[in-house]
């Protein structure tokens, strides 16, 4: 019998206690719970309060008989399976029974093994139904979670707006609408009651603000942010089907006290009292306590809420001052957008195949008018394909406002923790950048912002002593210059001392004394980009682990960008980030070549030269084929020789190349190799698709590219090929 457990009940109704026990006994081990009742009235009551999927009932019972019981039960729960056991019945009784909705009728005394078989069928059928219902529920839950993510996406921005412009009722209205919608949607879901409960209290608090009973303030902003965090965490839990028990009642009561104006404590104290009141629990972020159910907590820490709900959806219009109703766009999930992009890739593949066909057709003897028409169509297809790629890049753009929306909270939290006063000013955040760039900027620049608060801005006492304003300023400015995005992060803090940085680098063994002596000031300042480098005396929650600026540079470099730091002691520090704007993410200009019967695609950006092999001076160094290129000796071979021969001096390395072979000089990060190919077929606008799970680690290649409806070429990865060539 099945090992799965059905979390529903099979109900046995029989007035004869001995037979009832025998039936229950015979049904054990079916994979569901069995419950029995001695009469139909009790059974009806039981079925109302419990989840029953099938009933096996006697016909003749004191009070209500089996058929009447079935009729009444089916009125309430028509999907429950119903079997009648009967010793005697007439034709009319049988017909009445089936009219009442019974699913089967078994004679009594019944061979209990047949009864068990019947019950087994009911259990199996119900399990299939439950599986289907669960799948349907998952779809509906996903819709709810997408909507919730949508609602919560810019909640923080509106809360800050409320603090900035307290008398702007539209902002409260937007927040109220968000809370109300979320509460309403959550109310429709089993398991989302907590979301509904907290959002209800949150909505009440917003109502109090709207009616003027509460005035927006820094502390109230903090309470609203805390509430938003809790709601986000609950939605995140619901989405991940995490069944953690959480004592939210004190939190809801705290919100209610705020609503009634009874609380004048800072929100953090209120939250921390919750932490202290709950045994077995750790303090989580801002003090919300989660306890795994039913075991003691093992994974109590949850990510900061701003990390949980990223910008999965892309706003086409993001204006915190505007109400939701005014939005004149659509919210498109990144998945749908990626699908659209992939489809446009199909068009490029089709275009490539069309080009190849047209080339052949034009060689045929056709009237010149037809040839001209075909060429025009070819060109039109090129243009349309290019325009579609451009439009997709436009659609993929996300305003930097979305990428940077967590920065105000981070600055607020860090400055509170460090007892500093810091103001954050952001300009140019309406600039749109590709989603991938926005994501990388969001996750990397956060370190730079934290560092500015921790190491840059001085404490109020020091600033006053230096005749600076008590409050420091961090300014983030974004702009597009030509084909580049420029971002600067300025602070008016203490600036960097190159000598201090050198000393720290010396202590950590990152540089030698001689290097330190000779190192110019600007170079010393850039030491902060080294991994493990930190000038902080101790590690704090804010920074000091020595990973932040390393992450910034690594992420920016990945995007093909650069970052430079300038600092003046006592005046402040500026981080300048420059990132190239990609024209297309999908299409790569490549060279299609043949090698050993395989078609390989080499990105043009990696090729520095193409030359016939007969023009090169070949030699063997340490058992490996090499050639001279720009005064350097570089490894030479076909792609297999670089990735399939791990040992130097292997006899397999002696490869006889045809004099007609061509050599592509492939370069990556200053290292080159000479890649021998049989012939170059064509230039190709390749749509590179990553390998699937099976061949994801195909050394030397990064994916495939479709040539036509059948043929697939393999796209060479210069980085791993050059890496393999020099590692061998």
């Amino acid at each position: 019998m099945t090992t799965m457990k059905l979390e529903e009940i099979l109900l046995v109704v029989e007035d004869d206690p001995d037979l009832r026990d025998a039936i229950v006994e015979s049904l054990q081990g079916l994979g569901c719970s069995i419950h029995s009742c001695g009469n139909a009235e009790d059974a009806l009551l039981f079925s109302r309060e419990n989840l029953c999927f099938a009933v096996i009932s006697d016909y003749r019972m004191p009070g209500m008989n089996g058929i009447e019981f079935c009729r009444r039960l089916k009125q309430e729960s028509p999907r429950i399976k119903f079997v009648i056991l009967t010793g005697y019945a007439d034709k009319q009784t049988v017909l009445d029974g089936f009219r009442a909705g019974i699913d089967d009728l078994l004679e009594k005394p019944q061979d209990l093994s047949r009864l068990r078989e019947k019950a087994e069928i009911f259990v199996s059928e119900r399990m299939v139904e439950v599986d289907r219902e669960n799948e349907e529920l998952l779809v509906v839950r996903k819709i709810f979670c997408d909507e919730a993510a949508d609602i919560l996406r810019d909640l923080d921005a509106f809360i800050f707006k409320l603090e900035e412009v307290p008398l702007q009722p539209e902002v409260v209205d937007v927040l109220l609408r968000k809370a109300h919608t979320l509460k309403g949607s959550a109310g429709a879901f089993q398991g989302a009651e907590k979301i509904s409960m907290v959002t209800n209290a949150y909505e009440n608090l917003l109502q109090a603000i709207k009616k003027g009973r509460l005035k927006p303030s820094q502390v109230l902003t903090h309470v609203l942010l805390q509430g938003a965090d809790v709601i986000k965490s609950l939605v995140s839990d619901f989405e991940a089907s995490r069944n953690r028990s959480v004592n939210l009642q004190p939190f809801v009561e705290a919100l209610n006290r705020w609503t009634e104006g009874q609380v004048d404590l800072p929100a953090t104290s209120e939250m921390r009292s919750l932490a202290a009141a709950t045994p077995q629990a750790e303090k989580i972020d801002d003090g919300i306590i989660w306890v795994n159910d039913p075991a003691p907590i093992t994974e109590a820490k949850i990510k900061p809420p701003e990390m949980q709900l990223g910008s999965f959806v892309q706003p086409l219009k993001v204006d915190p001052a505007a109400s939701d109703d005014e939005e004149d766009g659509l919210l498109v999930t990144i998945d749908k957008l990626n699908s659209f992009m992939e489809l446009s890739g199909e068009l490029v593949v089709l275009k490539n195949a069309y080009h190849a066909t047209i080339k052949q057709v034009l060689k045929c003897d056709l009237p010149s008018e037809q040839k001209q028409r075909l060429e025009e169509m070819n060109q039109s297809l090129d243009k349309i394909s290019e325009q579609i790629q451009g439009q997709i890049m436009e659609i993929r753009k996300v305003q930097l406002r979305v990428a940077f929306q967590k920065f105000p909270r981070i600055v607020r939290q860090a400055s509170q923790d460090l007892h500093k006063q810091v103001r954050l000013e952001m300009t140019g955040t309406e600039l749109g950048v590709d989603k991938s760039i926005a994501k990388a900027l969001s996750s990397s620049l956060v370190h730079a912002v934290r560092n500015s608060v921790d190491h840059g801005i001085e404490s109020p006492e020091i600033r006053i002593a230096k005749n600076k304003p008590e409050s420091g300023v961090i300014r983030i400015h974004s702009s597009q210059v030509g084909e580049q995005v420029h971002i600067t992060i300025d602070d008016d803090g203490a600036g960097m001392d190159p000598d201090h940085i050198k000393r720290k680098a010396l202590e950590k063994g990152l540089i030698t004394k001689d290097m330190a002596f000779l190192m110019p000031a600007q170079e010393a300042i850039e030491l902060i980009f080294l991994p493990d480098f930190s000038t902080a005396e101790k590690v704090t929650n804010v920074s000091g682990r020595g990973v932040g600026m390393d992450v910034v540079r690594t992420e920016i470099n990945k995007l093909g960008g650069s970052c430079v730091i300038e600092s003046t002691l006592g005046i402040g520090t500026r981080l300048k980030v420059v990132i190239p704007v990609p024209k297309t993410l999908l299409v790569e200009n490549t060279l299609l070549a043949e090698s050993g019967g395989h078609q390989i695609v080499v990105p043009l950006v990696s090729i520095s030269k193409i030359t016939p092999i007969k023009d090169l001076i070949l030699s063997k160094v340490d058992g490996r084929m090499t050639c001279q290129h720009d005064g350097m000796t570089i490894p030479l071979g076909d792609y297999r020789s670089f990735i399939e021969i791990p040992l130097r001096g292997s006899t397999k390395e002696k490869i006889d190349f045809s004099p007609e072979s061509l050599v592509l000089i492939v370069t990556h990060k200053g290292h080159s190799l000479a890649l021998v190919v049989d012939k170059v077929v064509d230039q190709l606008e390749a749509v590179v698709r990553p390998f699937d799970n099976v061949v994801e680690k195909l050394l030397g290649f990064k994916g495939t590219s479709l040539l036509d409806s059948e043929h697939v070429a393999f796209v060479l990865d210069a980085e791993s090929l050059v890496g393999a060539a020099y590692a061998a």
Partner: protein
């Protein structure tokens, strides 16, 4: 009056028929050597006949290459090789069938020389084989012939 036996028998026959049609699973049967193997129909996406594949530029055990199916490129395994009954080199591109399957996580193809037919099996006649390492998970005996049922989730 005692229950009319004709009515009871008629009703019970109808209900019995309904019972027999109960839990059953459909399998696509393929022939590998002398043995029949079954792939759950719920995991089969489609079957490509006489389809050529693009060999990998680097050899991989059990993998024949990749195909492009309406813009989706996926890997083709040699089923007989996976079952230890042949080597991938014995397969000939453009011959046999590629059974495209989806294991709930990814799509891939299984190349077989001969595909047979689809057959329903009562689930209670599928006997589990307790070896988590094996591609074959169940055995079903039909008219004295054993058919081995595979779980494609176990393809590496």
């Amino acid at each position: 009056m005692q229950l009319n036996e004709d009515i009871i028998n008629g009703l019970q026959e109808a209900l019995e028929e309904r019972r027999i049609k109960g839990p059953r699973s459909s399998y696509l049967l393929v022939q590998v050597g002398e043995q029949k193997f079954g792939i759950q129909m719920t995991q089969v996406v489609e079957v490509l006949e006489s389809r050529r594949w693009n060999p990998l530029p680097v050899n991989r055990p059990n993998v024949l290459g990749v195909v492009n199916l309406r813009g989706v490129v996926f890997t083709i395994y040699h089923l007989a090789s996976l079952l230890g009954k042949a080597t991938a080199g014995e397969a000939e591109s453009g011959q046999g069938c590629i059974i495209v399957v989806f294991d709930g996580r990814r799509r891939f193809g299984l190349w077989v020389e001969k595909m047979l037919y689809v057959q329903d099996f009562p689930t209670n006649e599928l006997h589990a084989l307790n070896d988590a390492q094996l591609l074959v998970t169940h055995l079903c005996v039909v008219e004295q012939e054993s058919i081995l049922m595979m779980d494609i989730k176990r393809v590496a």
